[in-house]
């Protein structure tokens, strides 16, 4: 049960949230100009790092707002959350788990 700090509601339990995968993947301005390979990359390819990962969550059982988080996928520790449209916070290396 992760504890997730919703930028609007504060820390809440994971069951109130839904996951949205990698953050900052922008929908192409004009999909029609992309070739099949480029379109395929937009559709199917996402970063999958072991370590810090910028990802999206929605507080579906709360304020229903999407937001972004930096979370370590090895330790599951959240390094920070930030509202949609905000810039990612700078993360220090070597934070405790």
């Amino acid at each position: 049960m992760l504890l997730i700090d919703c930028p609007h509601c504060g820390p809440r339990d994971e069951i109130e949230f839904s996951y949205g995968g990698e953050a900052h993947v922008v929908y192409p301005e004009d999909p029609s100009v992309l070739n099949d390979a480029e379109w395929g990359r937009y559709l199917f390819y996402r970063e999958n790092p072991k370590g810090d990962f910028a990802e999206r969550w929605i507080h579906s059982g709360g304020c229903r707002k999407w937001f972004n988080a930096i979370r370590n996928t090895a330790t599951y520790e959240f390094k920070g959350t930030y509202a949609m449209g905000e810039k990612a916070p700078t993360i220090k290396e070597g934070d405790a788990k």
């Binding site: 029609s32 559709l43 929605i58 999407w66 599951y76 520790e77 788990k97």
Partner: protein, 996 residues
Amino acid sequence: MTTASSSPSRRTDAAPGHGIDRSQPITITFGGQKYDAFAGDSLASALIAGGNLQTANSMYLDRPRGILAAGVEEPNGLVTVKARSEDDIDETMLPVTSVEATDGLEAFYVSGQGALDPTPDPALYDRKHMHADVLIVGAGPAGLAAARAALQGEARVVLIDKENRPGGSLLSSRTAQIDGTDGAQWAADTIAELSENPDFTYLSRTTAFGNYDSNYVIALQYRTDHLEPKHREGVSRQRVWHIRADQVVLAPGAMERPIVFSTNDRPGVMLAGAARTYTNRYGALPGQKIAVFTTNDSAYEAALDLHAAGAEIVALVDSREKASEAATAAAERTGAELSLSSAVIGTNASVMGDRLAAVSISELDADGALTGETRTVDADLLAVSGGFSPTVHLHTHRQGTTTWNTEIAGFVPNDDVTGEHCAGALTGDFSTQGALDTGTRAGAAALAAAAANAGFDPGSGSGDAKAPSAQVADEAPLCGAEVKPLWLVPSATGSTDDSFVDLQRDQAVSDIERAYGAGMTNIEHIKRYTSIGTANDQGKTSGVNAMAVLAHMIGEEDLGAVGVSGYRPPFTALPFAALAGRERGDLFDPARVTAIQPWHLEAGCEFEDVGQWKRPWFFAKDGEDMHQAVQRESKAVRDSVGYMDGTTLGKIEIRGQDAAEFVNRFYTNGFKLLKVGKGRYGVMCGVDGMIMDDGVTMRIADDRFLMTTTSSGAAAVFDWLEEWHQTEWPELDVTLTSVTEQYSTITVAGPKSRDVIAKVAPGLDVSNEAFAFMEFQDAELSNGVPARICRISFSGELSFEINVDAFYGLSAWKLVEEAGAEFDITPYGTETMHVLRAEKGLIIVGQDTDGTVTPDDAGLGWAVSTKKKHFIGKRSLEREDSQRPDRKQLVSVMSVDKKTVLPEGAQLIAKDADPTPKKGSVQDPVTPSNGQVHSYGFVTSSYMSPNLGRPFGLALIESGREREGEIMKSLVNGELVEVEIGPLCLFDPEGKRRDG
């Protein structure tokens, strides 16, 4: 009144008996024998008091075994406890040491494997959530000291402990005093004092079994097993606590290890600390002639306690070369011979039984080899201490790491878990004063950290908390250079076959040797090869010893190099039912119902589960089966009029200057030019171009739309719209509001529906001219209730949809019922709705589509705008694979015999294909050897149609639209049936009935 016991009582008043109430005698029945016991006894202590420490024989080797431990780590004694009352059932595989003795309890031993009681469990279980600033695990001296230090100011402190009373190790001590008070009494007093603060919670009989991210600790509490049945009504038998703590203090203590030597599994071989616990906590002497075998000083405290309680100490065997102070004192006071640099190398049973009768003792040379004469000493109990392993389980659940500490010969936790503080024996300090000191420090540190994080007032006590002071006569905790672990005592014969490491799995040193010989040098491989550590006790007594034996073989001193001492939840086993909690029966999952549900129930409706919704499936009249009911309902709608509860359709209000633009981006067809007062059917695709939902969207005002979705897709579509708005198009002025449950929706369909609506909404002009298809009108119903009425049809018939605020739903339904009576209006359910829409070739998303179907595949190519520059999914529809001519297309299918209703899911194969199903055994696949038979597609929907007078279906078939008129085959109940491919819409293809 006394009951005859099987053996003479070993209960002694010469020991304190901190854990029992001698004024409350009880009787238990174990293995058919009655035993006297006292309130507070464990099953194990009651048996030991009755002179019986032998358990069932071992599981695989059938060797006699006895109670080894006094706590959850017990490997040998597993019991089945019989149902305590009518609201209980038998429960098996419980450690004999973990079951509290209660009056009338019946139990018996099992040998490593129990039988599940098939009776449904009527007991209640629940869960509870709690938030703590400081959660302390363990109510021994360290945990209690931590609680005193942490419970200051506004702090909320929770203390959980698996035992039935506080005190931990103090309960096992004969002499401990804290601040001048008897230790056990101090523990009780401390709890009483702390409990005066409403923000202190003490949970006894509660085991923290899992420790998860951000200090989420889950614990199991036994609430009623120890109570009289009359106290149990409505009260859960067990409760699973979910505790979110800002700070956690771990003070779980340490567990003693056995020593690995030949025949170390004999009944009567017991951990020294356990022997001490049985004596001091329960007043039950586990033996009368006791030999002690130790690697450290702690066992001498046990020897003195056992001696004080009346036992004879017959030998003191110590692995160390020099006599420690404690050893010398113990030898002096017990009169027992002290053998240094020595080991017990074997045990013998008496001729009459299995229990230990004698131990063999030999000296060890500097290399640990046997030397000198072996002497034999008679003894009925061998108290062993191989050292202590701090209980690091909860720490490692959080990926906390450990370090092998050679001073104490044990793994101790590293300080690498945020918000965690370790105290007491867990830190490797085994003294009582050490527990109080580390506990006080941990509690104060936890308080300070929690107060800083949560911003509450930590009061004045934080930071300078003073630890209570302990006085313990004879205390000889192991420390420093005074531990000499004996990982592997050589046997006299050289065989290691009966030098046991894991008693429950019957695995000995020889098994580890074989694994090593097979090429295995990692402890994880060894565990898997031998199964060590995988039994009920999860290696609590065997884990470190197994690592040590391996380390010994590969010549490694640091056990940390052999593997990690990590454990996975749960710390102790817990029943599935406890985790199920209250989510059983009809509370398993919410059943969502509409406002009209009371009517449906009264009408004897059968329901269909659609997601969490209960939807009316069909309304059988007296004696009808489903088929008959659906035929009647389907015909009634086409012939006269029917009505249906359509409330579950999703409804989303979309408002803003950009609402039209927003809606337009989702549907494949155009919505920008939709006129106010009108609705339009739309198909929505995922980014991958596959159909995800459909429905009618109405324009309420220039800047306001009401979108309807499928029942099961409602939540997903709402989320989908929000996601795009929030993450991609925040610049659009729209707000989205789910209004699914604001309205009750009643569909009235059939040629007579206009007449019914005219009566229901007398002020409404229902003529075609005034109220055209795909329009809506606000109206007042005849009872004064405001409504919005739409002309939408999912059946091809003239059809209206009445929407009222949900709390008016039932009265509106009854109004329709009354108004329709003269037309014999018929309520219908989802099955009839499906028949009617299928006759028209209208899809059900999720039934006729499966996430691989494009709008064109589903015959909805007409709804895909070629003019729109963009809609979600458009780019994917342009891919080559989406344009393949051989894609599966939705068409109708009809059995040529006009009788067979094709099963939904039936596959369609070529007319000349002959898969010759093998008769008989289901083990024979249809095509055992001659390869795949090509499937051209499958039936998605299939019904008997009273309106077509024949069965029909819809199917997704490769290039289906080109195959109209073609005959294919389908396997139905093992027989091949001919199937004709037809157009998607079979009923009223011109759409003449829509306007009545």
